[in-house]
Amino acid sequence: MIRYFTEDHEWIEVEEEEATVGITDYAQGQLGDVVFVETPAAETILAKGDDAAVVESVKAASDVYAPVSGEVTDGNEALVDDPALVNSDPEGEGWFFKMKLTDTSELNALMDEDAYKEFIADL
């Protein structure tokens, strides 16, 4: 399993063509208390950069974009009842959706963990 990161502060963990997507610990820290999450339904087709999910904190609403293209296979139902999972475990239980990738070469444009750490250190 390899974990990639985007400049929009999403993480995507990939195993062959299956991937899990969420937002990073840095992102949840910036958002603050998450009170609502809307995840995409299974079978939703997403192109890289499409609006995939909505995350709302007390302060503001933010879109979560599809880091790569693919088809949604599952949205995290646990976030409906407990959106605060995004704050307590953003890179684990607080995942947003799973998808089947259409073009794994799109992953090459993303950052690895070290590159992402450097990226947020400069923000």
Binding site: D33, E56, K59
Partner: protein, 372 residues
Amino acid sequence: MGDIKLHLDQWHQDLGGRMVSFAGYSMPVQYDGVMAEHLWTRENAGLFDVSHMGQLIFSSDDSSIDIGIELEKLLPANIIKLGVNRLRYSMLLAQDGGILDDLMVTRREHDFYMVVNGAVKHEDMAYIRENIDDRITLNYMEDHYLLALQGPKAGDVMKHLIPETDMLYFMQAGHYNWDGIDLWISRSGYTGEDGFEISVHNDDAQKLADALIAYEEVKPIGLGARDSLRLEAGLPLYGHDLTPEIMPFAANLSFAVPKRRREEAGFIGDDPILKQFADGPSDLRVGLAIEGRQPVREGAIIVDDQGQQIGAITSGGFSPTLQRPIAMGYVPMHLTEQGTGIIIQQRGKNIAAKVTAMPFVPNGYRRPPRAA
């Protein structure tokens, strides 16, 4: 053009404040997190830096001039009957009746003290100078800080610091001395809680702020929680719920244009405002309880069954106290009854809501005891 740094900028940052740009100032939006700070203020006491707001003094060397009478030409409030050391909510109005700002005005022994919103304070001052008798001097207290201590434990903290403040009730104010420092303290605020707003010279602000947060009941609170607290209290925010396109009756602020002023008129914007009062406004600011968990935000629209826009959300968010989304918005008069169902459209999605009474959360003002 950078933002103006508050006198306590470093103090906020040392306490973990995350600074953001607001009203031309760099202000702390949060320290521990909006939710925790909000709930802390509802249960204990929060210290807010509101020094971006404009503190103004109206005075005159000419003893023949009555500043109260002159202010009534500018404001729709009952200023003549306002007692010494009493304050009142009012609005600055345009000739066409639109709201230019909302404010608090206090009659003091020798002058009037006014607090206006930070984002429009310079425009306010220019407008006031243009429209008030030249024999009145308007001073902008740029060298003064404004701190707000708000919450059910604010009274006990302030009483411990300055015992004489225990005499104050909601919308009363006075001059106090603490440890050699002059303070102007009002029992007022914008959170719906009991509390105080304290005007202090910039040079003494940190000493006072340190003394207040030394109490275990007091934590510093950022702008984020200030916004969610005032929303729960049903209080409109200028630039959002109130704008130059809105007149006081539509804004549901009829209490701020009392009977005598309606009868006698004689204030800027009186004709259009009294016409709106006579005819009834076409739209009204109402509170909205949102179904589901997704907050609606300013800018979302209110639609009819055909999807046509009939209103707009002007403030909205998640209520930390109620643990559900709440909002304020303008709806046509026939939809203002409590319990009326409406449809809100946000990013292409329909969200159901019901018109509801405000405040959303009961207020905790310390009112004077009723006479027996």
